[in-house]
């Protein structure tokens, strides 16, 4: 039953461009894939180690800018830009992890917000590097040998592969010894430490992997929209990620995926129905309602119901 469902879902994902007629629907699917990576990335920290980072848009943005700048200014290929984006974002994650993980809870949240705020201001003000608020247009689309991945179906498969890889990375990490250390720290830090888990080392590692994944998503986003501006640092990206993780079910592997799919498709559906201010208003209300009625998220609620 479960395996059957997984095969069906995989088939549906693989053949999506053939039965999704309009490019607009495919665009939504690509964005859903990018957000899946972001939600998986945030979930590593929020769901598994229990640390809420509200600066995650910073890693997304750093990835987007790194990849865009390397391909634009140094004419690197996308296939080098993508790992470079992961590396730079991972480095930023390491630095912030080293600094911020001295504090916990609300204080950690504030440090991550401040970090994102500073980075965003730098991106606006450092005109020479980032071209300021005007942004960087003309980011090249990736190509494979002589084949350009500029078309939406091709890009869809690229994002699908990346999201699948991100899922596998999270899966491996979470089911490893390290993943159990994450959970131990989330549940009881003092107890975890007493059985030999090094909290700072473990949490910093989680932050690095999480940031690198967000960087990958940023790179994919930059080469898809082919334009990067300080808007990639918008706090609303972070909030969207948080909603996806919390609604889907934090601390589960499938939760962020479900959340990301739902919350990229839902706003697009709402777009038909209501003006965008109402959309965001509904978003805020939905978040509150979710905390009250599904405090653990959709995926845990569904699996509890099926049992």
């Amino acid at each position: 039953m479960r395996a059957g469902g997984a095969v069906l879902a995989a088939l549906a994902l693989l053949t999506l461009p053939f039965w999704l007629g309009s490019p607009y629907h495919l665009h939504v699917a690509i964005m859903a894939g990018i957000f899946t990576i972001l939600a998986l990335s945030l979930n590593l920290l929020l769901g598994y180690t229990g640390q809420l980072s509200l600066g995650h848009a910073a890693f997304f943005g750093i990835g987007a800018y790194t990849s865009a700048l390397l391909t634009l200014r140094l004419e690197w290929s996308f296939w080098l830009g993508l790992p470079a984006a992961a590396l730079t974002a991972g480095l930023a994650g390491w630095a912030i992890g080293r600094l911020a993980l001295k504090v916990r809870g609300a204080y950690f949240v504030l440090v991550t917000i401040s970090f994102a705020g500073v980075i965003s201001l730098v991106s606006v003000n450092w005109m020479d590097l980032t071209n300021g608020p005007l942004g960087l247009p003309g980011v090249p689309a990736p190509s494979l040998a002589s084949l350009s991945l500029r078309t939406k179906p091709a890009y869809y498969y690229l994002v699908l592969i990346a999201a699948g890889a991100a899922y596998l990375v999270c899966h491996r990490l979470v089911s490893s010894r390290l993943g159990r250390a994450f959970l131990a720290l989330r549940e009881n830090e003092a107890l975890a430490e007493s059985v030999g888990v090094d909290p700072t080392h473990t949490l910093v590692l989680a932050a690095v992997v999480s940031a690198a994944l967000a960087g990958v998503a940023g790179s994919l986003y930059a080469h898809y929209t082919r334009f990067v501006s300080p808007e990639v640092f918008l706090f609303s990206y972070t909030v969207t990620m948080v909603i996806m993780v919390v609604a889907g079910g934090k601390g589960t592997l499938l939760g962020p995926v479900v959340g990301a799919l739902l919350f990229t498709v839902l706003p697009e559906a709402l777009r038909e129905a209501m003006a965008w201010q109402w959309q965001l208003l509904a978003y805020g209300v939905l978040l509150i309602v979710l905390v009250y009625f599904l405090p653990r998220g959709i995926v845990p609620a569904v699996s509890a119901w099926r049992r």
């Binding site: 440090v111 201001l121 805020g284």
Partner: protein
């Protein structure tokens, strides 16, 4: 002098937030929205009912308190005892909902709030300052003093301090914790609304003005230490002046970075705030 105008209102924001943060253990991301609400309510009171400016300020502050009390009763009271992450998510939701609600009601165009003060500045030697700004500083300082008296001298203030120090013991001594929470949130929100109502006429009122206000309030709280009223007052003034200096000497583009840098630096170097006495051990 501009630093002082900003600093006074930052102190108001910070005091409100430090009380809510310290006493209720709640990361109130919606704090800035009450600030925005204060500015818009002043605008609405002036435009709709044609009240005079000072009455409109009072109305805005009163309605801010009411809105705060309502939020606490409806949204937060049922979640008491839940983890800090849960309530924080609710506050993030409230923040988004309120901000976009304001956008819907008042539109995205910045509103200027009329005030009765003459625009010609006073000149005192080398310093010149607009009368409105003097009014803002004086009112802010008066409100800060009033909060001090409330916390230090009244029965309610004593109950609040007791709850902050030890919730269980305070409850055992007959302090109605639930009501204290409501009052604290209402009081903090009223102070934020006051800050918004005061700064609104100086600058402009627009829906996203609360975002920066929230961050400033958090930097003030961190600068001053959790639940520390004198710390928040001084912290607010320091932040206001530091921003003016930062904008003047470094670059005005980085003005808002001052708050962020302060948050990061203080949390890493002195997590209990600049003005905390050495912590007692044992």
């Amino acid at each position: 002098m501009n630093g002082l105008v900003l600093g006074g209102t930052y102190a108001l924001l910070g005091i409100g937030l430090t009380l809510i943060f310290g006493l209720m253990n709640l990361v109130n991301f919606a704090h800035g929205e009450f600030y925005t609400l204060g500015a818009y309510l002043t605008f609405a009171a002036l435009a709709v009912s044609g009240l005079n400016f000072f009455a409109a300020l009072a109305v805005a502050i009163g309605l801010g308190a009411l809105a705060g009390a309502l939020c606490e009763r409806v949204l937060l009271a049922p979640l008491r005892g839940q983890s800090i992450d849960t309530t924080m998510l609710v506050m993030i939701g409230l923040w988004i909902a309120l901000q976009n609600g304001e956008l819907l009601v008042w539109g995205g165009v910045a509103k200027s709030i009329p005030h009765p003060f003459p625009t010609a500045p006073f000149t005192l030697g080398p310093i010149s300052i607009a009368p409105l700004r003097v009014f803002v500083v004086v009112t802010a300082l008066a409100l800060i003093a009033a909060s001090w008296l409330l916390i230090q001298r009244t029965r309610l203030g004593r109950a609040m301090r007791a709850t902050f120090q030890d919730r269980e013991t305070a409850a055992l001594m007959g302090v109605p914790i639930g009501r204290i929470h409501t009052v604290t949130f209402a009081f903090g929100s009223a102070l934020a609304a006051a800050a918004g109502a005061l700064l609104g006429p100086v600058f402009l009122a627009y829906p996203s003005m609360g975002d920066l206000a929230s961050l400033k309030a958090f930097s003030v709280v961190i600068l001053g230490g959790l639940g520390n009223l004198p710390g928040a007052t001084l912290g607010g003034l320091i932040l206001g002046v530091a921003e003016e200096l930062g904008a003047g000497y470094v670059s005005s583009g980085y003005r808002d970075a001052v708050g962020f840098v302060i948050i990061i630096a203080v949390l890493l170097l002195r997590p209990s705030g600049l003005f905390a006495r050495a912590e007692r051990i044992g």
